[in-house]
């Protein structure tokens, strides 16, 4: 990896990945791209606006012109990488466009790291303690999980068709840390944390440091395959709520529509649907495959809570 492009470089995760890549001694050129000017922060002068979707020709041309060998896509899943709390979901069209540019016959790209999300695994009571990568869930997926499964499927198809491109899909657990606004980050930054009485699922978070390190490491070593990414350890939700500062919890009603409405009323509207399921069933994953591949998370679940926006 010498010349690399980061997609979504204006958003919290992309910006940190870009900075980390620029600091790597082997990296000659690191370009940060954004799809819309609105994503480019005022203090981000190094980031260019070059939409890669729905028309990818300018982007593909750029890859050729700058002889880009690695593409790191941090913009596929909104809620994980976005500056705002949003309903999670993958941009399937963007996945297809980036894929088309990467797979183009005269494309110089040899490595493609796609940042996906553990929202790939739908929340339900019929679930393992820790989701594994090979779990087949896409066929039954709805909502955010459906779009993520679809986007990943397209990425995997490119990986199969272009064996000379090393393609890594990283399913990132909910990032909790300053500046990140996913469902769990929103939850734990509350003064009064809503909970579903009688439910105590395992919760799992990802520290921004681990997220950035994993993405950069995957790009560096040319990782291939699908991997879950999470900070080490596992917390029960009740314990996480206690550790989030011993603040008062708010009990949500059990009936799901009423519970979701209550979450919306509490100002958690964008993530209410996802969060209500998380509060009952959790979404913990097994990050052992990435550990066996050689990446070790340095942060714990408690570190994530300590790093959150209070």
């Amino acid at each position: 990896m010498r010349r690399v492009v980061v997609l979504g470089a204006g958003r919290p995760l992309g910006a940190r990945v870009l900075a980390a890549l620029e600091a790597l001694p082997g990296v000659e050129r690191a370009i940060g791209l954004e799809s819309r000017p609105g994503f480019i922060p005022d203090d981000g002068p190094g980031i260019e606006c070059l939409p890669w979707s729905p028309d990818h020709r300018a982007f593909a041309e750029r890859l050729r012109k700058d002889e880009i060998d690695t593409v790191v896509d941090c913009a596929l899943v909104e809620a994980r990488t976005g500056a705002r709390a949003r309903t999670p979901g993958a941009d399937v069209i963007a996945a297809m466009c980036v894929g088309a540019a990467v797979a183009h016959d005269d494309s110089p790209v040899r490595g493609w790291v796609v940042v996906s999300s553990t929202d790939y695994y739908p929340a339900s009571s019929y679930r393992p303690l820790l989701h594994r990568e090979e779990e087949r869930v896409g066929d039954f997926a709805t909502g955010p999980a459906e779009t993520i499964a679809e986007a990943e499927e397209y990425v995997r198809a490119i990986a199969e068709r272009k064996p000379h491109v090393e393609v890594a899909i990283l399913r990132l657990q909910a990032i909790v840390g300053a500046g990140f606004r996913g469902a769990l980050a929103e939850l734990f930054s509350r003064d009064r944390i809503p909970v579903c009485p009688g439910f105590d699922p395992a919760v799992q978070m990802l520290h921004p440091d681990d997220a950035v390190a994993a993405i950069v490491w995957a790009a560096e070593v040319g990782l291939t395959g699908v991997f879950n990414v999470a900070s080490s350890g596992l917390l029960r939700l009740g314990e996480a709520v206690r550790r989030a500062g011993g603040r008062r919890a708010v009990a949500l009603p059990f009936a799901p529509p009423v519970g979701r409405a209550a979450l919306r009323a509490l100002g958690l509207a964008p993530v209410a649907g996802e969060l209500y399921d998380l509060l009952r069933h959790g979404n913990a994953v097994d990050a052992g495959k990435l550990a066996r591949a050689g990446f070790e998370a340095r942060r714990t679940q408690v570190d994530c809570l300590a790093a959150r926006d209070a």
Binding site: S125, F199, S232, G233
Partner: protein
């Protein structure tokens, strides 16, 4: 197994309360003095490594799960987990309460994790709900063992199946009639008839309970396969069922009054 440092105080990663001696103490008093549980063949339960314990399932609010789980834990000092239907975890408190005492969602991945990676003992009831809701005429007749999925689970994890025949559990809540409502069967127990539907569901009779552990069944098939031939798993399942039925018949034939044993 690497210890997880921040799983929370007093809980393991499955959400189970770590033994502080108080867990199930009321149940264990009933185990010793109400049902006077006696074990035979405990030497067949492996002292280390995973094993899938399978037993016959019966009675409304079945006590057999607790008998096998806490019984083996008390007798051998090994932790035992029970696989339970995920429906319990859809409702508040039910699933959490089960998790606290060692219940785990019956998902194939959980079974692999417990048996293969953690080398734990796991209890399943292959009859599923067919055990508890069977009519009185089927007393101590083992129901169909699903599609032999438990054999496949054990094969994949590379652990033996340890069959356990339980005598007396069905007499803790004897069925006197079967009510049918649409596709669902509701056995009416003598307990419910005498004590009403609420108290009757936990007012178990003091039937003498005897548990016989049969020799562990080891499989030649290699562990970790994606698929195992249905014919092989069905054959094994059927043979295990036959052995359990024979042991059960023997235990029933040898006992006198259901309460005094």
């Amino acid at each position: 197994m690497k210890a997880i440092p921040d799983a929370g105080p007093g809980l393991d990663r499955w959400g189970r309360r770590l033994g502080d001696g108080s867990e199930g103490s009321l149940f264990m008093a009933a185990y010793r003095h109400w049902w006077r549980v006696e074990w035979e063949g405990l030497e067949h339960v492996p002292r280390a490594g995973g094993a899938l314990l399978v037993a016959n399932h019966a009675g409304m609010m079945p006590v057999d799960g607790g008998i096998v789980q806490y019984g083996i834990e008390a007798e051998l000092g090994r932790r035992v987990f029970s696989l339970a239907h995920h429906g319990f975890w859809r409702f508040p408190f039910a699933g959490t309460a089960l998790s606290r005492i060692g219940g785990v969602v019956a998902h194939p991945d959980n079974a692999q994790r417990l048996l293969g990676e953690e080398g734990a003992l796991v209890v399943v009831f292959p009859e599923g709900e067919k055990g508890p809701v069977k009519p009185r005429s089927e007393r101590y007749r083992l129901q169909r063992f699903g599609r032999g999925g438990f054999v496949e689970t054990a094969m994949r994890a590379g652990v033996p199946v340890v069959p356990i025949a339980l005598m007396g559990t069905e007499d803790t809540t004897p069925v006197v009639a079967n009510l049918e409502l649409g596709r669902h069967r509701f056995p009416l127990t003598l307990n419910a008839l005498l004590f009403g539907p609420v108290l009757g569901s936990i007012a178990w009779f003091p039937a003498k309970i005897r548990a016989r552990v049969l020799p562990a069944v080891h499989f030649d098939e290699p562990a970790g396969q994606e698929h195992y031939p249905r014919s092989a798993t069905m054959d094994h399942a059927e043979r295990i069922r036959g052995d359990m039925q024979a042991a059960l018949d023997e235990l029933i034939a040898a006992r006198g009054h259901p309460w005094w044993g």
